[in-house]
Point group: C3
Chain length 209, copies 3
Amino acid sequence: MFKLSFLPREEKFFGLFEDDAQNVVKAAQALKDMVDTWEDVGEKVAKITELEHQGDTITHQIIAQLNSTFVTPFDREDISRLSQSLDDVVDFIHAAADAMYIYKVKRPSQRAKELADIIVQAAAEVERAMPHLRHRAELKQVFERCVEINRLENMADRVFRSAMAELFDDNANIADVIKWREIYEHMESATDRCEDVANVLEGVALKHA
Amino acid sequence: MFKLSFLPREEKFFGLFEDDAQNVVKAAQALKDMVDTWEDVGEKVAKITELEHQGDTITHQIIAQLNSTFVTPFDREDISRLSQSLDDVVDFIHAAADAMYIYKVKRPSQRAKELADIIVQAAAEVERAMPHLRHRAELKQVFERCVEINRLENMADRVFRSAMAELFDDNANIADVIKWREIYEHMESATDRCEDVANVLEGVALKHA
Amino acid sequence: MFKLSFLPREEKFFGLFEDDAQNVVKAAQALKDMVDTWEDVGEKVAKITELEHQGDTITHQIIAQLNSTFVTPFDREDISRLSQSLDDVVDFIHAAADAMYIYKVKRPSQRAKELADIIVQAAAEVERAMPHLRHRAELKQVFERCVEINRLENMADRVFRSAMAELFDDNANIADVIKWREIYEHMESATDRCEDVANVLEGVALKHA
């Protein structure tokens, strides 16, 4: 089967996106670890903050690369949107972890654990999709990963809606309602942005298939 | 008067956008019907969810069409933004209906009815603007519809601000404040996205006039 | 040192962006004045509303200019994003001022004053960066302003997080928590959009340096 091989300079973009996706996975796992164990919360938030900064560094490298490259492996706008969406995923993971910390919540709800688990799965699909961009013959596998990311986002949406309905039912304490509502929103937004990543990848795959 | 007639392939874009706008109108009417009658709420939310999915299907057709067409009737970026904004209008209509349902609100406030009514009007203007895109000689009428959409968005903004001020004045029950605040925000966002649609249409009309 | 001089038509873009940045500064100063003195609040909100409308007028001029110009001094997309981000800064300044007014808050917290002060500083950096766009030899100074805007945005983020943590600690009154949470979010978003402005400017400077 014919494999289109890209030029060295373009390799750099693929490598950076793979690094960026790996960083998203690390942040997702750190969030899951945090809500599952609920120990050393401050340190775990600090770790996610550190991963957020590493993601920022990769984003800046992608943009710098974009601005110094004439022929890019896919549309400039798609490169820009893809790096922005990956950045957003980590931002929302961080925002969720940070809100749990600064609001001093007692312990994560079952729904929070479910959402963290879905985020890890969606991030893993993003990471798996990335290397397929390198080879035209593998673009079909990009679609498969995107279908899976969409499925996970729908699942997160259902868990989020159940969590929101339960919040008002279960809580006498309205301050807790406000705090958890914000935390759940950040978590759901993280899976939304994974879907944004999937949408860009799908578009790129369509154009080059 | 000279009418520029576009090629068959381009017809497809116009047809899809007209379908999409019609779908927005249906969703807006379903929301208005829901808040006006406040009966069979669960079924009515299900109907709006169904319309949201139909909108998603149209969006995917537009993007697929975009990715397989070399010469588009207007800028690719505008086509992408237009379909995204139409999609967002329905998403916010759905989010408002869904929040009323999952939060089990007693019955819609007068302000909610006013906002639903404005959303229906704004959606109708979007639907009326769309066919004018087909003919260069009719682009002036696009501007007229956009002026009207902007006026409706300003009106929604005023109703929203009154609703928010009243919320805190009228409610001893802070859980209701939180719930209605979210519902109003979704409704106001729906008209905001109609304004986004108008901004794209205005830009397209300016470029081609 | 060689200075690239742009053509008259392009001058117009630079002039409009400088006007727009100046308008952002005026809005930021009006917000700071409002929270510092806390007198004639209604009039001060009206003044910010007026500045928001002036900003809208400038945005429309930029878009109209964009749609009637073939050769632009920098990428069309960057021009569009830059004017949108400047518009957003003023929108969030207005939203913060407006929320304080319609929610009839007693008086601004120390954190609100700190945030208003940071917004003024970030707006001033945006205004200082703008004229450097005119001359290729001065693009390096654009980067310096962007570094400063990023620093201010990080500072606003820290103040925001402290403010949010304190909100729940200090307040027996949950309605006040909801009101201030929204006001702080708008203020923090204003500095976020200054960072968006900086990101566009940085990209433009990189491409043309």
